[in-house]
């Protein structure tokens, strides 16, 4: 995890960029932006908001998909989509 973060750190020229797929079970963060318009609209309509909290509830036994929550909104998404969800660091 540590190494991964530092690799990203270098890639982005000093700014830390964190996406949802990098969190572990029971970890949470706040959504900064979603880099896919369709996915963003879908998540917003399912109770997730920009700036709002998102928590990894469970990672499927085969590491994908994952269950995420925000308040009482509770959905599953694939890792490929989680990668598009940027978190506030």
């Amino acid at each position: 995890m540590q190494e991964k973060t530092s690799a990203i750190l270098v890639q982005n020229g000093g700014t830390i960029k964190m996406t949802l797929d990098q969190l572990k079970e029971n970890e949470s963060g706040n959504i900064k932006q979603i880099n896919d318009e369709d996915l963003a609209i879908q998540l917003l309509s399912m109770g997730f908001t920009l700036g709002g909290e998102v928590k990894i509830e469970r990672i499927a036994p085969l590491k994908d998909p994952i269950l995420i929550t925000s308040g009482t909104n509770y959905i599953s998404i694939r890792n490929s989509d989680a990668k598009k969800i940027e978190l506030i660091v």
């Binding site: 963003a40 609209i41 309509s45 399912m46 499927a60 036994p61 998909p65 599953s76 998404i77 694939r78």
Partner: protein
């Protein structure tokens, strides 16, 4: 209120808000399921009468927003935009998740529609010690707000009253969101809703059902227990479909025997009698017998979906199924296919990605359905005796299991190949809500069983009856005077009366059009070890696979189709006409078994595939690829074993 005697209302709401409960509570059994024009999205319509006014209700598919992400949402949006200005739109919302549900509400209002907001699940709201100031909410939203508990039929009268006393509003200036960015637009809307609900939600409470749900999920989606629970459930469902259903199935079977007997005696002898008894009634019996299995299967599937469990299974299976071009949601059709491919193919509608849905539809018939069971049973009995064992296992049972496994593996591999061939730019996602766990709504389960059985009986039934009649004609008529010659041949014999009848029946079949078809086919199927009689049953199996047993019964001149033992004996003693050797050798029997595992021998399924894909191309491809698979595998098996 408009002057006309009918009022149209449209139900719309997020999935899992109890929209269908409200629909059922409003319309009762007065409902129809059809399709929206051009797409295969269920369109539920119904009606009721209130204060002498006829009210027509349309239930739109559950949708999170009017931003069309899936076919369901596109249908909902298009339908809403084309409603007339007098139609009342009822937005059904989950009271325990008001904020999110109001997002859709605000989109409907922006379309300039006449709206009523129905807050469902008021019982849960109370349980959670949450409170909503309904009056305040109604004032802020400037529309009637009706609290209900659709599950317990509470508040339904109030909804009906609100509809009949609805005051049509002049279309107001709507300050539509005018941001160029869809994301900003949605966020702005969310912030507006936050301000409204802040005042109206007077007590936040604690969502108890949500906390309970997360506890259950710790076990249900666990990496070990999760799969174990799923396997145990599957085992239980199989047990139910194959052992419990056998009692009502036997009853139906016997009922049809009695009915056929009664009709054949009641009607004067002749062509009409024969057509009704051996054509229509025989065909009808062939479908009605599967009603118990389909009803039980749909009871389970509805219960599993209604409780929220199915979403978890899809979650567990998504990664595995994705590998093969399928989706987590394909698991429901795959399970259903073990009973019958027809409901399975209809069930694939929940998969929003077209390619994944198409692959699911294309491979579902490879999974052994219940119609193959009678065929497997009789053929396996020819090569393995009942008490043979392999270790502690019954060998017959093992073979049946092996055939099921074979079908399953073939389905998965075919899916994988299709994944490589079919091109699609559509993105595949698995963004699926995990609804809270709730007790199943038994009434809903009942409605679901009723409507699915109805579709099965009428849609599949029409085709099966048509095919049965055609087959009957092919079996009952022959070119020229071939039948009379047969009658003459047996005019003076020393056989007993029943034996003579049986011999005549067998000879006539050989001379009939069906027999000619069988004979014509013989060169093509000879490499598989089949003779012309097997050829005929391959043809008749197109009506339904289990017809094989009946055809064998006729072909091998056994009077009673239910007497499996004597069919078995006759088949065992059947000789190859040229070599004089035993016909059903291990090689032929295995080859035939494999053929039945893979071949697409079901007209009804093909008809449903045609309807669901809206194209003749896919059923044709299905017949060809499954046929090729069956032919080559049988050829291989026959060559190895003979």
């Amino acid at each position: 209120m408009s002057k006309s005697d009918t009022q149209n209302i449209v139900l719309i709401g997020n999935p899992n808000t109890g929209k269908s409960s409200l629909f059922n509570a409003l319309t009762g059994l007065n409902q129809k399921i059809g399709n929206f024009p051009g797409v295969t999205v269920d369109k539920k319509t119904g009606s009721y009468t209130f204060e002498k006014k006829a009210i027509n209700v349309v239930d739109l598919p559950g949708t999170y927003s009017l931003n069309p992400n899936s076919q369901d949402e596109r249908v909902a949006k298009d339908y809403l935009e084309n409603t007339s200005k007098d139609d009342i739109i009822i937005v059904v919302a989950d009271a325990t998740n008001l904020k999110r549900n109001l997002l859709l509400f605000s989109e409907v209002v922006e379309l300039g529609k006449q709206v009523i907001l129905v807050l469902n699940m008021m019982d849960l709201l109370q349980k959670n010690k949450q409170e909503i100031d309904i009056k305040k909410l109604s004032k802020k939203l400037d529309c009637p707000v009706i609290p209900v508990n659709a599950r317990l039929d509470k508040g339904i009268e109030n909804v009906k009253k609100a509809i009949s006393s609805y005051q049509q509003k002049e279309k107001k200036e709507i300050n539509a969101q005018t941001s160029s960015n869809r994301i900003d637009e949605a966020m702005k809307r969310i912030n507006d809703i936050d301000r409204i609900t802040e005042d109206c939600i007077t007590k936040e409470g604690e969502n108890k059902s949500y906390l309970f749900t997360k506890k259950v999920d710790n076990i249900v989606t666990h990496k070990v227990y999760g799969y174990l629970i799923f396997l145990a459930l599957l085992f239980f469902i199989f047990q139910a479909i194959f052992s419990w259903a056998s009692y009502p199935m036997d009853l139906i079977d016997n009922g049809f025997v009695l009915l056929c007997d009664f009709v054949s005696k009641a009607l004067p002898e002749g062509v009409l009698n024969d057509l009704i008894v051996n054509g229509i009634l025989a065909g009808l019996g062939g479908i009605v017998i599967f009603v118990p299995q389909i009803a039980i299967l749909f009871a389970f599937i509805t219960i599993l979906e209604d409780t929220g469990y199915m979403s978890r299974v899809s979650f567990l299976m998504d990664r595995i199924l994705r590998q093969f071009g399928l989706n987590g949601k394909s698991i429901i059709p795959i399970i259903s296919s073990t009973a019958c491919a027809i409901p399975a193919i209809m069930g694939a509608r929940t998969i929003s990605n077209y390619k994944e849905r198409l692959i699911t539809i294309m491979v579902a018939p490879l999974i052994s359905c219940s119609a193959r069971i009678p065929v497997y049973t009789i053929l396996i009995a020819l090569i393995v005796s009942e008490d043979e064992t392999y270790g502690i296992f019954n060998l017959q049972g093992l073979l049946v299991m092996g055939l099921y496994l074979l079908g399953f593996v073939a389905a998965i591999l075919s899916a994988w190949i299709m994944k490589l061939i079919i091109k699609s730019k559509e993105k595949s996602t698995f963004t699926l809500e995990m609804p809270i766990y709730r007790a199943p709504r038994w009434k809903n389960v009942g409605y679901e069983i009723f409507s699915k059985v109805k579709i099965f009986l009428f849609d599949a039934g029409k085709i099966i009856i048509a095919i049965s009649i055609i087959l009957w004609v092919l079996c009952s008529y022959a070119p020229g005077n071939r039948f009379e010659e047969i009658n003459k041949k047996y005019a003076s014999t020393t056989y007993s009366e029943s034996e003579t009848e049986a011999l005549i029946a067998a000879d006539k079949l050989e001379a009939s059009y069906a027999g000619i078809i069988g004979k014509t086919m013989e060169p093509a199927i000879k490499p598989l070890g089949f003779d012309w009689k097997i050829g005929i049953s391959l043809v008749t199996s197109f009506a339904a696979r289990e017809v094989f047993v009946g055809t064998m019964a006729t072909l091998y001149s056994v009077g009673d189709a239910d007497n499996t033992k004597s069919i078995k004996e006759k088949m065992m003693s059947a000789k190859n006409r040229e070599t004089g050797e035993k016909l059903y050798t291990t090689a032929t029997t295995l080859s035939l078994l494999i053929f039945y595992v893979f071949a697409m021998q079901c007209m009804a399924t093909l008809a449903v595939v045609y309807r669901e894909t809206n194209s003749i191309k896919w059923p044709i491809i299905q017949v060809v690829y499954m046929g090729a698979l069956a032919y080559l595998s049988s050829l291989l098996v026959y060559t190895i074993f003979s």
